[in-house]
Amino acid sequence: MAIGNDLKLVEMLRIFMRVSMSRLDLSSVHVFLFCDHSGTPTYTDFPGKPMVIKHYLSIPQKYLGAPWAECLVLQAMVAQHLESKSLSSTIVLNNKTYHCFSLPAHGVIVFEGINELDAVVQKSLDPIFKKLSLSCYACIAHESLLKEMAARHLAEKTIAHQAAHDELTQLANRRKLTERLEESLAHCRYHQRCGALLFIDLNQFKSINDVMGHDVGDKILQEVAQRLLSITRSKDTVARFGGDEFVILLPDLGRNREEAELIVCGTAARIHDAVEVTFDLAGVGYNISCSMGYEMFPNLDESCSDIVKNADLAMYEAKVMRQRVALAYHPDMSEKHNTRLAYASDLKAALKNNEFELYYQPQFNCDHEIIGAEALLRWHNPKYQFESPAVYIPIAEDSDLILEIGDWVLNEACRHLKVLQVQGMLTEFKKLSINVSGKQLTQQDFFARICQALAITDAPPQNLAIEITENVLVSGVNQAITLMSDLQGIGVECSIDDFGTGYSSLAYLKRFPARMIKIDRSFVRDIHCDAESRSIARMIIALGNNLDMEILAEGVESREELECLQELGCQQYQGYYFSRPVPFANLLAMMHQSQVEEVE
């Protein structure tokens, strides 16, 4: 009686069952095995231990179309045999004979035939079943070992995968990217071919993450990952560099550099299109865009970290310049970056060393009376002298330095406002305005900070105003409206600065609870001889009147401009024609002078 030496339990049993059928003239053979809680065949370590027994195998599988595995009569026979605790039992049913034999420690085997097996034959099967039982044990142990090995292999594979992949997006991680970049760089150098590294940063992602929560942010990142994978070649490596930054390695773009660059630009265009498709999450749509930079390689003596750094710089430039196309790295970018870094460091020191000073540009009415002033930041630095804020404010805005500077401006302006109040200057003088950056607007506690500054300095809130540029407003409409409403509640009013240069719609304008619209200087310059500027200014003034907002023109530099604006109906002005920005002490002096003249 061949048992077979297959280590797979089912195959080993099958061989035995088939041989049994042919040697013993059987109609069918059935095996029932003891199983553990998961249904896996096992064995009992001592006789009589209660075990679950389950149908394991039948040859043939069916009788009269019904599976033997579901035959209740057969199951009852097995149960009865187990209860009897005998090594073998025989049942005759429907002209068929069923012999149940115990498989020691493993279960029961049932032979079905048309004739009863001779007692001698039955007895001779004892040692065979013992051997079969041993074989079952070997197979179960082997299969258990195989399972463990498979589980271990899977665990090792998972760990290896995790070591090389980002957990959230399953993209390659930095480590994997670096490996691939090294390989690609070596390959390109050796074979004189080109490759490129494309650095992608998501715009507006941080605000979505902060406002809607990391769950939403994570889903967007996962979706971005999928979109990037779908538009890249299989040999490209798409990696998540961290946060909302992705990197794509295009390893082999041919020998021709120009053609390679065209491929990169094409890829970048597809990436833009893919990222700008609305992300639909639980019925809510989210829109983001991305900034991209890239570096072609190989270049002389350039290492992998250089390539990554340069692509990052190029991306940064694209972000700063709000470029939709991917920018190629240029050495100027490194210089710019270094300059920015130096500036940032100096800005930090400036805060610490009190190198900042608030200057004020007075605002006038048509009677040339000072009705307010706009606070402007000045930096007294021996290195930069009087560097224009247009240079260092954007640098500050790249980091959180702008928040510290903004806080300082707020507190300093409030302090100055208190001085004005104490000196009785706040009669005609309505508002001291400070500029607010987009980053400050996104601060969750910005309103609280303003309240705190007013409280600490005891400055009158009704004389403080904040100016928010049109573009900043539009990029964070809901936040802006909430802030403006809250501020209006405590008496602090808001102005829309640089109006006419942004992308606001008239619908937005209706929603903003602003006191004043400031016409951008670009429309004021030479307004008296520029019909277009006049039309725009006229429109803004009419808008303001209809929306019950005050209008102030910035950048008035000549009498002609002033007269023109007056003709158009604008009655508040600011500009060099009236006064340059002056230190607070000078403003105070000007206001004293103005008061004296009034009295006289």
Binding site: S27, L64, W68
Partner: protein, 387 residues
């Protein structure tokens, strides 16, 4: 070619066409006529000497609007007369389900193979006709797997199709054309009862097959198989083997695997390669075998018994039979009996009942249920199924 006239008032026999020429053209005409008759399925039994063309029959069979099944065999017989050329077509009033299994030699003959599970869909114990290419190396494995898949309870008959030269050629009739290296399982919507017998008796033995591979018996009692076989026959019967007369002698002395219930499963040694005996059907290692002999009387009587038993079983059913018997008679019985084969056909007719119509083939291997219910490939046997 002609429609056979039935003078049978007892049964409503299906239309049967008998053709003596066996050409593709005649086959086409026969199919057309039967279809016009309104039949719902057609059994085609043809002779290997007909020289049918698979290419020509592809479109002809494909165009047939009703299921067709059947095979090409070394011979056919009808109502007592055996032919080596010609064909028989039976037009049944019922539709049959046919499952085809192609590429038998390359098939994954495993119970878990989903295509096998899907192929034989039996809700209840349908009775089956099985046709298999006898030259396919895995034909016996197919039959074993068939039983393991569908299980007991069905009544099955069938046979191996092909030519006696054992050259593989297209030999199964289907609507996909004439196929080779394939098997066909036909599910009958009417009950069939069958019986099998062979009439061979033990001459010498037992012997233990100590080395075997499939149909090749290599050693018997640890000695070269042919040597043991030859010595036994020469000793007991006086026949002398030489280089050229193996088949002439061996056809009279098949091997028999005797089961524990003393049923004999015959294995026909058809060839000798060096000291190996090659049989039609597997002889597993460690099997106890006997060398069998035939006595014409008992061989012929087996046909009678098979016919009689199948009829008795059918009588136990309450439905109205078609009055038809389908027989698969091993070609080697015909070769053994020679001119006396007509006696076998007469005995068959007696057993079945002379009021019934007998259609049969000389097959290469037979397929039937054994007494214990398993479906096996048999040799040198006669299998009769009555509808």
């Amino acid at each position: 070619m002609a429609l056979v006239e039935h003078n049978n008032n007892v049964y409503e026999l299906p239309p049967i066409w008998l053709d003596a020429e066996g050409t593709d053209e005649q086959l086409g005409k026969a199919l057309e006529s039967l279809v016009n008759f309104g039949v719902n399925s057609i059994l085609i039994l043809a002779c290997s000497d007909n020289e049918h063309s698979a290419d020509q029959l592809k479109s002809l069979l494909g165009a047939c609007p009703v299921p067709v099944f059947g095979g090409i065999f070394p011979g056919i017989f009808f109502n007592g007369k055996c032919r080596a050329r010609g064909m028989l077509l039976v037009g049944f009033p019922f539709v049959v389900d046919i499952d085809l299994y192609n590429d038998l030699s390359r098939a994954n003959l495993c119970i878990e193979n989903p295509s096998w599970q899907d192929g034989v869909k039996i809700d209840s114990a349908a009775d089956l006709l099985v046709f298999v290419d006898a030259t396919a190396k895995t034909s016996e494995a197919f039959i074993n797997t068939l039983y393991e898949t569908i299980g007991g309870g069905s009544h099955v008959i069938g046979g191996g199709a092909g030519s006696i030269d054992f050259v593989q050629r297209p030999c199964l009739f289907t609507r996909a054309g004439l196929l080779q290296d394939a098997a066909m399982v036909v599910k009958l919507p009417v009950p069939m009862r069958c019986a099998v017998d062979h009439g061979w008796e033990v001459l010498d033995g037992p012997y233990l097959v100590t080395e075997a591979k499939g149909t090749h018996v290599k050693t018997i009692d640890y000695l070269p198989a042919f040597q043991v076989y030859r010595d036994s026959i020469e000793r007991v019967t006086g026949n002398q083997f030489d280089k050229n007369n193996f088949f002439e002698i061996a056809k009279n002395f098949p091997l028999g695997i005797v089961g524990i219930n003393e049923d004999i499963m015959v294995r026909d040694p058809i060839q000798r390669i060096k000291n190996d005996l090659i049989c039609v059907g597997c002889v597993p290692v460690n099997t106890m075998i006997y060398i069998l002999q035939g006595r014409r009387k008992f061989i012929v009587e087996a046909a009678f018994l098979a016919g009689e038993q199948s009829g008795l079983k059918l009588q136990q059913l309450s439905h109205k039979p078609l009055g038809m018997a389908l027989a698969f008679d091993c070609i080697s019985r015909s070769l053994y009996l020679g001119e006396d084969f007509s006696d076998e056909l007469l005995a068959l007719s007696s057993g079945v009942g002379e009021d019934k119509t007998i259609i049969g083939v000389l097959s290469i291997g037979e397929i039937a249920n054994t007494a214990r219910g398993t479906i096996n490939l048999l040799n040198k046997s006669i299998v009769v199924g009555q509808l």
